[in-house]
Each structure stands twice: as C-alpha cells, then as structure tokens.
Symmetry: C2
C-alpha cells in the first residue's frame, strides 16, 4: 500500500506532465496556472485511495483522479469570478490575472478537459463513472447556487446550510471516492458506502473549517482568523447563534452584522464573545462529531480488510484533527 | 425516411418534455428559458439525420441530439456574456435577464446536462461518442477564444479567419453528424467523411452569413443589414477588403473603421461601395462555393444509397441557398 505522500506524488507527477496546446494562449495558459497553484490534492488522492482500497493499482486510477482534480480547479476558477475573489492560494485569481472573459472560457475548456480524462477510463466502467461524475458535477453547481442565494437571505436554517455544504463541498469528496471504487470494480453496495463515507466526512470537514475560522490558533492559521465573521459569511456558527441568541446578544448580533463600517478586530471580538456566551463552538463541534462518526460508521461496513482501510482512516484523522 | 420538419418535431417534443429540478430556481430556470427561445434546431436535427442515414431509427438518436443542442445553448449563454450581447433571438440574454453570475453557473450546469444526455448512449458507442463530443466542445471553445483575440488584432489573415470559423461554427456541425453516425454504427471511414462534410458546410454556411449581412434583402433579413460593418466585425469581407484595397479605397476603409462616431447608414454605404469596387461579394461567393463543393464532394463518397442521402442534401441546399 502506498503512503499518502506517495499518492500525492502520483498526482503531482501527472499534473507536471500535462501539456496543453500552445494556442490559443489565453485559453490554455490559465489552466496550467491554476493547476500549478498546488494544494493538498485531497480529491484526486481520494480517487487513488478508493481504487487501491478495492484492489486496483492506484497508478491505473490516474485518469479518473485527474478528471476530478481538473473539474475541481474548474469550479475554483468560475467560483472566484462569482465571489469576486482577488486571491486563490495567495496568488492572483484567473479573472484578476487575465480577465473575466478569459476565466469563463478557460473554465469551460477545463470542464471539457475533465471529461476527456474521464473518457479514457476502461469502457467497462465508463457508464457508471459518467453517471457518478455528472451527478457530482451537478451537485457542486447546485451547492454554489445555494451559497450565492444565501447571501441575500436572512432566514437560512441550519438544515438548509448543511444541505448547501453537502452539495458544494461534500458530494465531490463522495464522488471522488465512488469513482475510485467503480474503476476498481467494487461491489455497488461498497461503492455506495464509500460515497456516503465521503459525503459525511465532507460535511464534517466544512463544519471544522467554520470552527477553525473563529477558533484556530492565529499563529498557525493560514488565513485571517475571524474572516467569516468580518464578511458576515453565513456559517454554521453564525446561523446557530442567530437561532439561539436572545436579548442583548440578539441585539448585538443584529447590530454588528448590519454595520457597514467597523473595526475588524472589534467585530470579531464582539461576535466571538456572543458565540462563547451561547456555547456555539461546542454545538458546532458536536455537529461535526456527529457527521464524522456517521462517516466512520459507514466506513466500517465496507467489506474490505481493516489493513487496506488504514490509509483512508489516517487521511480522515489528519483532515479532521488539524487545529489550524 | 422522415421529413426535415418531422426531425425538428422530434427535437421540439424532447425539449418540451425536459423537466429540470425546481430548485435552485436561478440555476435551472435560465436553462428552460434559453432552450425555449427556439431556432431551427439544425445541430440536433443533423444528429438525427446522420443516424437515419446509416440506418438507425432517428427517435433512438434523441439523447445524442439533445446532448448537442444543450451544449450549443450552453455556448450561447456563455458567449453572450463574453460578447456583452443584450439580445438573443429577439429576447433578453440570460445574463441580462438574471445576472452574469447566474449565466455563468447555469451555463456550467448546462454543460453537465449535455454530458448527462450523452452518457445515456448505448455503452457500445459511448467511448467513441465521448471522444467526438469532447473534441467538438474543445474546438468550439478554441474558436470563441480566437474570435475574441481577433477583436484586438489588425493583422488577421483570411487563413486564420477560416480556421476561426471552422472551430467556432463548423466543428459543431461536423461533430453533430459524426455523433449520429457513431451511434448508428457507421463504418469509421463513413463517420469521418460525414464529419468532413459537416465541417465544410459549416464554413460555407458562415461565409454565407458574412455575405448576407451586407447583401441580404433588408425587407426579408431578420437582422439589421450591415450590422457587421457598423460593429467593425472582422468578417471574410472586411479582411479581404483590407487585403486588396489600395489608394483611396484603403484610406477610406481605414478612416471609416477607425471612426468612433458615425452615421450608421453612411458607414454601411461607404464600406459597401468599397466592397463593390473590389468585387468582394464575388470573391466571398467563390470561397463559399469552394467549401460547399468540397462538402458535397466528400458527401458523395459516403457509402450509402443516394435515396437515403436526399434529406441531408435538401437541408444543405435549404441552408446554403437562403438569400436572407
């Protein structure tokens, strides 16, 4: 069994080897740019690991893994336009570095590239792979739409929020794992179990992100602590706080989330103190644990030796136990 | 053999029957909107006709045809953003009616929908179908990029222009026909011939459009005659005129294409008179005839009864002989 680092290296090597046509330059250069910005390559690694879990040589799962990674990067390019984001992994976003039109069209051709990678899969597994890939892609688009819809709504429930992060983040983790299972000829029930594992881990992962945004160690956190609070991002924490707050807490929460001009540090401190009054961190951690345990419970039902499962469990704990 | 109108009805019926999820509303409503704006449905009809040409029941080619039509509409939605177009078939474009973000994301999910239609194809033909579809989609993206690149260039050659319209317009006609051939289990050499037929017809078709923009009967033409001249659109006619013009014609052409403010009618009249001096219409018609004849020559080599070929020939002549 390969280590996680070895799996990551398979992906990095494959990305380094891609060669897009030299022309039209503005169509293909942004693809190489965004693909080279790095990241932990979690999603394609999940494809390889799931394939390996069900007995396939992970090197032979590279086309499916690349389909997932190129698709993921396509969503980043288009999401960054929609979110008006200037930076991605500390570098200029594609629409900032080139233009919105370039980011739209390069994104489109990345979607085609993702499908080209997918089409290389063994004909025997192609139909199932397409079904899973397309359902995943559709879910991710729905999640992004819901996320945008939420910005202008003030009645988003926790249930709706969980459904949004499920679609926007979690189905891609589930889809990546299921794709790996399919091309390894796993039994349909095992492919479905590993999908459920990924989806629940994905929800837990996003809840963890929401918590870390407020409670991470500022010395170690890669981003600004409290960024979500400053931006009024409707996270689990803020939605839960609005659900529970009464009296002064409620008044203060409304006041600070409606203020147009404020001192960032002061806003973060006030909102955080409201979260602390209401025990929001604890509630969020319990919800996170719920989805994590649900994931691990589903994972335990997969009909494969415990030894073969070790890698995915290690990765899960690495992802979930990070404190920054 | 079905008539062209019957083929169109198969497509319209299929479009009328589509039901997208009700939510998220802003993701799916624009798809129904753009798909219902009509048009002649040439591309999906080509899929059906090619399938029928090679002996398949056209009703059984509907998934492939819908993949092509949904993909085509996706490109319209994204192209309209990039071209800043307010109207499409006389109605508001998606980004005007909703927003740019909605048009980006609805377009993305249309690309997924196109792939979902494609994935329904018989597993036996799936790999070849995906290869043709993805190559087609990539070509269309390249064509759009080149078209945008040309806007800021003043050294575009006729050869580059033909390559741009080949990619932007013609490969989709070729790809639609080839897809129909593939799912009808046509021989690879026949599938390639019908692709070449479509590509050459597509180029001839676009050259015809360039000519009609200037020389159509204003009483019958659906659009403003001279629209390309007013917008300085680098058509075959303008590029050829720049190539051939000398002396006063060249000075006048430069002057009028650089003017920021002008009377539309006057500009159209002046540029048209330069075209007439240089015999541009005739040159463009010869080029159009060249591609049309190349298409018909390739078509004649397809190893199928002449009777079965009648429909596609009638459609070709309908498209090429229109004078407005």
């Amino acid at each position: 069994m390969l280590t996680i680092t070895q799996h990551q290296k398979i992906i990095e090597d494959a990305i380094a080897k891609i060669s897009y046509p030299p022309k039209p330059k503005d169509l293909y250069e942004p693809i190489s740019y965004i693909m080279s910005l790095g990241g932990k390559r979690i999603r394609p690694v999940l494809v390889l690991m799931a394939a390996e879990l069900f007995g396939k040589n992970p090197y032979e799962a590279i086309d499916a893994a690349m389909a997932i990674e190129v698709f993921h990067n396509f969503t980043l390019v288009h999401d960054d336009i929609m979110d008006n984001a200037p930076l991605r992994r500390g570098q200029q976003t594609v629409h900032e570095k080139w233009s919105t039109n370039t980011a739209i069209l390069s994104g489109d051709v990345m979607m085609v590239e993702a499908n080209k990678n997918l089409a290389k899969i063994d004909a025997k597994f192609l139909k199932d792979s397409l079904f899973t890939f397309n359902a995943t892609a559709q879910g991710v688009c729905e999640g992004q739409q819901l996320d945008m819809d939420f910005e202008s709504r003030d009645d988003v429930s926790i249930e709706e929020y969980i459904n949004m992060i499920r679609l926007k983040t979690a189905v891609l983790l589930g889809g990546a794992l299921k794709l790996g299972a399919i091309i390894a000829d796993a039994k349909p029930e095992d492919a479905e179990l590993i999908y459920q594992f990924g989806e629940n881990i994905g929800i837990a992962f996003q809840l963890h992100d929401d918590i870390l945004d407020v409670y991470a160690d500022p010395e170690k956190f890669g981003k600004q602590v409290g960024g979500d609070i400053i931006a009024n991002k409707k996270t689990f924490l803020l939605l839960k706080a609005f659900e529970l707050a009464e009296g002064n807490d409620k008044t203060a929460l409304k006041h600070w989330t409606q203020l147009q001009q404020f001192d960032n540090k002061e806003k973060v401190a006030v909102v955080k103190s409201i979260y602390d009054n209401l025990g929001i961190q604890n509630i969020a951690r319990k919800s996170m644990e719920y989805y994590k345990n649900k994931a691990l419970n589903v994972f335990s039902k997969i009909n494969v030796d415990d030894e073969a499962k070790a890698n995915l469990l290690v990765l899960t704990h690495q992802l979930m136990d990070r404190e920054y």
